[in-house]
């Protein structure tokens, strides 16, 4: 791999455009307007074409103005159509942006007869070519695209910084914002204007399709990682920049492993941000799939372990001198716990609550005491539900069975006090006394 100043500029340009998109993307995601990024980035196409046809040049400024104007028009039309029709918001966006996009394709085809405005360049961008078009600034040759995106990022940072509070309240609770005299409509269109402008500024580098990825994916990833808006903004921008770096690295290294030269950096940036999302989605500490499944599993394991102890205690209560010990198979049949019985038994053994010889499951002192406490909670709940809440004795078992797992010692004693320290439950079974 050979790294030149070219590569550095490609990464910088990519990172700047991605960061500018990601910053605003947070508000699209939080306002449930993710598709709006999609809509605007497609709908600006006729704006680009019109600006080109009118001015006859590919200068950035007229392009930016034309496309932004159409972008805002899109946001406005979506809102108007949503109000006036009974269509849902996704459908109104779909209607408006596809129509505009189609119009743009036709216009570009017409314009392309005269000069080179390449539709595919608009769609996929040409970030690899951006370092060729430089601008002299204080003796340094800086790619024009990097400057455009830097400017856009600065504008977006200023917007978010100045209106942080107002954007927060209008995104969270627009009705409250309105009653406080904070104009939610104004902020909505200000945001949409900047989304449109950012989209156009980022076109050259990442293309219109990947703009959508940069608007949505870093913000969605950041939302999985934090519960604070400020942190979410920072994390999303960092993820965007990281995707640019990983994307370009991937583009120049990965294909060589398979005997090709290199591939599209913009494409790899999209893949990189997607992968970062995937990893976060799986491994995020609080909202990741793995930790969720683990927590769920721990809870169900605890419930199965509780049930085993309760069963062993009840068996101990009823058993005759000649009764055989409980076997794992009996537990399986009685508790219908499926595969989670084995890890639960293993956990109980480790806690010293049971002993297992061959297939026999024998409770230890501790195990029996824990079982007694559980059965006590269960039967106290039953008496309480029957006496205090006048629920019929036949209903209360299932309810008590759910509640017993979430009842700690202090609650169980409060229950006992409430129902006057009963000894016998509604099914006329002994309520075990508090174990020492």
């Amino acid at each position: 791999m050979e790294w030149t100043s070219f590569d550095t500029w490609i990464v910088v340009t990519g990172a700047l455009s991605a960061a500018a998109c990601a910053l605003l993307g947070n508000y699209l995601v939080l306002r449930k307007l993710s598709m709006m990024g999609d809509a605007i980035s497609h709908a600006v196409l006729p704006g680009l074409a019109l600006a080109f046809i009118i001015t006859g040049s590919r200068d950035s400024l007229p392009m930016l103005v034309g496309a932004t104007a159409i972008g805002v028009l899109t946001a406005f039309l979506v809102q108007a159509l949503f109000r006036l029709s009974e269509l849902e918001k996704g459908a109104t966006m779909g209607v408006i942006f596809t129509t505009f996009f189609a119009l743009g394709l036709i216009l570009i085809r017409q314009a392309a007869d005269h000069v080179d405005l390449d539709p595919s360049c608009v769609l996929y961008g040409a970030i690899e070519l951006t370092p060729l078009d430089v601008y002299e600034l204080m003796g340094m040759e800086i790619p024009r695209a990097a400057l455009t995106n830097l400017g856009m990022l600065a504008v977006n940072l200023l917007f978010v910084g100045l209106f942080y509070k107002e954007l927060k309240i209008t995104s969270f609770d627009p009705a409250l914002a309105t009653t406080l005299g904070i104009n939610a409509t104004f902020l909505h269109y200000a945001l949409m204007t900047l989304v449109a402008a950012t989209t156009v500024a980022a076109f050259e580098s990442v293309g219109s399709i990947l703009v959508i990825a940069m608007l949505i994916v870093p913000a969605a990833t950041a939302h999985l990682l934090t519960d604070r808006l400020g942190a979410m903004l920072v994390i999303s921008v960092l993820i965007a920049a990281l995707s640019a770096l990983l994307g370009h690295l991937g583009a120049i290294t990965v294909p060589t492993w398979f005997g090709f030269t290199d591939t599209s950096t913009a494409g790899m940036m999209g893949v990189a941000t997607g992968l970062i999302f995937l990893v976060t989605f799986l491994l995020a500490p609080r909202y990741g799939v793995v930790s969720r499944v683990l927590r769920q599993w721990q809870l169900s394991l605890k419930i199965v372990a509780d049930d085993v102890l309760g069963f062993l205690y009840r068996y101990e209560e009823l058993k005759q001198p000649q009764s055989p010990p409980v076997q794992a198979g009996d537990l399986q049949k009685a508790l219908k716990a499926g595969g989670s019985l084995w890890p639960a038994l293993w956990q109980l053994k480790r806690r010293g609550a049971i002993r297992q010889t061959a297939d026999d499951v024998l409770p230890t002192e501790t195990g029996l005491a824990q079982g007694a406490r559980l059965v006590r909670s269960h039967r106290l709940w039953e008496s309480y539900l029957c006496d205090a809440l006048q629920m019929c004795p036949t209903d209360v078992h299932a309810l008590a069975h759910d509640l017993e797992h979430f009842t700690d010692a202090s609650m169980s004693e409060a229950l006992a006090r409430q129902s006057g320290d009963p000894n016998i439950d509604p099914h006329e079974r002994q309520i075990p006394p508090l174990p020492k």
């Binding site: 209106f163 969270f172 604070r228 808006l229 049930d307 759910d402 439950d425």
Partner: protein, 274 residues
């Protein structure tokens, strides 16, 4: 046919909320029809009526959150738009996304955003004000918790604290008692009493008919129109309720049922021995 327009200024009183001839329609279907109200100062007012009677719409229309087809509204003698700072709003809990990345303190601080002013940051003094409001509703320990990790009752108390911090004269509350636990219900009732003692007026959309006489001084019975409005003792009668609920008093039990099914007990696995 031209009906003579009443002289508006002559009718406007300095009451906390005065509504004249209010009509609201969604998609040409009227929701509120010719509502006239004048509510007394320093009282706890319940707005009661069956589902779809327009109770929430009334509260929203007062604040310009839904377009009015006709009608005039004044708050302490002036149009609402000039008196926003005197009105505190507690919306329904479902009206916002609780997964939003903010904590309870952030949400309460939002009540101060108008006072803070455009583009100015929240400072320590504002946070202290918000903390004081959270303390009043017993939520201090949860100030830094993300709002989706709060129970329904706690979320409701956060909304109340947010209205409190606005230090308004007139409070509009949309179903604050729905889906809350007993502790929260008690906290809300205590808060309403405090507000009344401080001379504030509270207008509360309320679902639970049983508690109306104990919680409220004044009742508005609403079913698209105002069926009856006045002091609870005089107005909250079985006959008026029947008029409001259109004979189908089953709706009464519906309302009770709706309330009693919350809060829910955790559901788990079935099975095991008694």
């Amino acid at each position: 046919m031209a009906t003579p327009q009443p002289q508006r200024d002559a009718l406007v009183q300095d009451t906390p909320l005065w509504i004249h001839d209010l009509t609201v329609a969604y998609h040409r279907k009227p929701v509120l029809w010719d509502v006239n109200l004048s509510l007394p100062e320093g009282q706890l007012v319940a707005v009661v009526g069956p589902n779809g009677a327009g109770k929430s719409t009334l509260i929203k229309a007062v604040q310009g959150l839904v377009p009015r087809a006709s009608g005039a509204i004044s708050v302490f003698g002036k149009p609402y738009e000039e008196q926003r700072h005197l009105v505190g709003y507690v919306p329904q809990r479902e009206s916002v996304d609780w997964d939003f990345p903010v904590n309870a303190l952030d949400v309460v601080t939002m009540g101060l955003y108008r006072q803070i002013g455009w583009c100015r940051p929240v400072n320590r003094r504002h946070k202290a004000q918000a903390m004081a409001a959270l303390e009043k509703v017993g939520m201090t320990p949860y100030a830094h918790r993300q709002i989706s990790h709060l129970s329904g009752g706690q979320q409701q108390r956060v909304f109340l604290a947010r209205a409190l911090v606005q230090d308004a004269q007139l409070y509009l509350m949309d179903e604050p008692f729905v889906g809350v636990d007993v502790a929260t219900e008690r906290a809300i009732v205590a808060l309403l009493k405090d507000l009344k003692a401080a001379g504030k007026t509270c207008i509360v959309v309320h679902h639970d008919l049983q508690t109306v006489p104990t919680y409220f001084d004044h009742v508005v019975l609403l079913n698209m129109r105002v069926v009856e409005a006045g002091p609870t003792d005089a107005v909250f009668t079985e006959e008026n309720l029947r008029k409001t609920y259109g004979g189908k008093l089953t709706l009464l039990s519906d309302a009770l049922f709706e309330y009693s099914k919350n809060p829910q007990l955790p559901r788990g696995r079935k099975g095991g021995q008694p």
